[in-house]
């Protein structure tokens, strides 16, 4: 008898392990497009890390080799060479780290700030909520790209500023998403129970409310990486992002644009790189949304 009981608990533990995360993964696996997105993202990260070991910035990325300038794509130079004779393929692979890091870090900034604002707004309600929402409204009323332009010119060019600027621009979106997700949780009975048990507000917010309203935020964050990369490359394209000769994709596109008439491959490949990256994050976000909330799936 005693033995059977322990067996039951072991069985129960097995079920518990398969809960949230594996459930989401099981649902996520079902979507082929989401899996394509995930595979590309993993591949991109692997390539980015490998490129940092394979190439040296001063020797392979920024150098002049005027003998080999503007060569068409060939077996030796897969994506051709640019006006300084630099290999476009190598530059694109090496440059992946700028786009990826801007996308990911800016989302971390936006998500961190926005989540706190949204949590406070949703949890406390009343005048606090009103102030935070109005504040978000002001920033959502300014087109993203123009706000980016204003922030970049105020704080100067550079990778860190770019991350911060995009993070700030997207903060109100995360605040709104978090607040909307918190609202239905706020009045749940288990929150009431936590209050009665004597948990502090901070504890309730971060331990009980947040974990239960995380799904839309995760989806927003994945999609946010995609739009962050797009905004960053737009700013670089306008000459306000990462300063040249950094091989940021938007900046490379902008450089190639001057030679668009005769050397269109110089604009083609960086654009394709941006599109593939953004697309894969969007596919992942789409898949995650369906996996996290199967009810939404249509």
């Amino acid at each position: 008898m005693e033995e059977k009981r322990t067996y039951d608990i072991a069985e129960l533990k097995k079920y518990k392990k398969r809960s949230m995360l594996s459930e989401v993964w099981r649902n996520y696996k079902k979507s082929p497009s989401a899996m394509v997105g995930l595979v590309i993202v993993i591949l991109l990260i692997v390539i980015t890390v490998a490129a940092q070991f394979m190439y040296v910035f001063n020797e392979d990325i920024v150098y002049n080799d005027l003998k080999n300038r503007l060569l068409s794509p060939s077996a030796e130079h897969w994506f051709g060479t640019d006006q300084y004779g630099r290999d476009v393929f190598v530059r694109i692979i090496y440059g992946a780290k700028y786009s990826l890091s801007v996308g990911i870090v800016s989302v971390m900034i936006a998500c961190g700030l926005g989540m706190c604002l949204g949590l406070v707004a949703g949890y406390y309600g009343g005048i606090v909520e009103n102030i935070i929402l109005r504040f978000c409204e002001i920033f959502i009323g300014i087109p993203t790209i123009l706000m980016g332009v204003a922030l970049m010119s105020a704080f100067g060019q550079g990778l860190g500023v770019l991350m911060l600027a995009i993070g700030l621009v997207y903060t109100p979106l995360f605040a709104r998403t978090t607040r909307a997700a918190v609202l239905p949780v706020r009045d749940a009975e288990y929150i009431e129970a936590a209050k009665i048990a004597g948990c502090s507000d901070l504890e309730i917010m971060f331990k009980h409310v947040l974990p239960n309203s995380l799904s839309p935020i995760i989806v927003q964050a994945t999609m946010g990486v995609a739009s962050g990369i797009l905004t960053a490359s737009s700013l670089s394209f306008l000459g306000l992002g990462v300063p040249i000769p950094t091989p940021e994709w938007g900046a490379m596109l902008s450089e190639g644009r001057e030679l668009i008439r005769d050397y269109s491959y110089l604009t083609l490949f960086p654009g394709l790189a941006i599109m593939t990256t953004v697309l894969s994050f969007n596919l992942m976000g789409d898949g995650l949304r369906d996996a996290l909330d199967p009810k939404l799936k249509q």
Binding site: T144, L230, T267, L283
Partner: protein, 310 residues
Amino acid sequence: MGRYVIKRLLMMIPVLICVSFVVYFLMDLAPGDIIASMAPPDATPEQIELMREELGMNGTVFHRYFRYLKGLLRLDLGQSLSQKRPVADIFFERLPRTMELAFGSIFVALLIAIPLGIAAATHHRTWLDGVSMTTSMIGVSMPNFWFGLLLIIAFSLHHKWFPSYGADLGLKSLVLPAITLGTEQAGTLTRITRSSMLEVIRQDYLRTARAKGVSEKMVIRKHALKNALIPILTVLGSTLGNAFGGAVTTEAIFAWPGVGRLTVMAVNSRDPNLACGCIIMFSLLLNVTLLVVDIAYAYVDPRIKAHYAK
């Protein structure tokens, strides 16, 4: 209804004042002194100071901002320092071009999104659905300045069908910029049309309509689409509002003489009045567009009209 509109219009005032505050202070943080760069190279510091006073740019940033705000409350957007003309004149000179582009792009977007979205919803879980969802996802993910450049390569360098820059040839100049911006907007619109139609298509009243012998075409067009319109209108409103100011990259590629590029120029030349004026006007346009959309809801859905009347 009238009271609702007035309330919304009044609520825009504090929002716009806050926008002006944020942008004015950001512009002040930017390095570089426009007055010093405007002065002749041999000007003494006293002369520069005098110029600053003449242009109303003396004092701390707070002084300057309150002077600016005082003008703003009298609906005066001030003088542009770099162009030495009233900001309002410069803005409204260029606004029609931006409007053309915004409406042109929305037209292209609707032309793509509505049929594609409806087809995806009515052929749910078929290859057609897959194709339309993949296309719309690519549309959302594509950097639109890149797509614009591809269009230039194909249709103005290879085939000389459309001009690659400027707005001098009327409708012909508008085609490529409108397609560039429109395809970007179409992505989101297609997805929202599809999901909104899917929601409606399962309703009982559609079954009733079919049961009483209404043709499938009419069911979709009259019964389903009309009821699916509200989410589509919402997205359409914010897309249009953003197109007024957010088309910066499209305007940059096609050298389109619109206000988006004007704003970037103003920010780059450290012209606080012009930059602030433009961004305030965008914010106003966006808010008015959203209000118009909210009013449009009332006409689409009588239930919402009753809610406004309260």
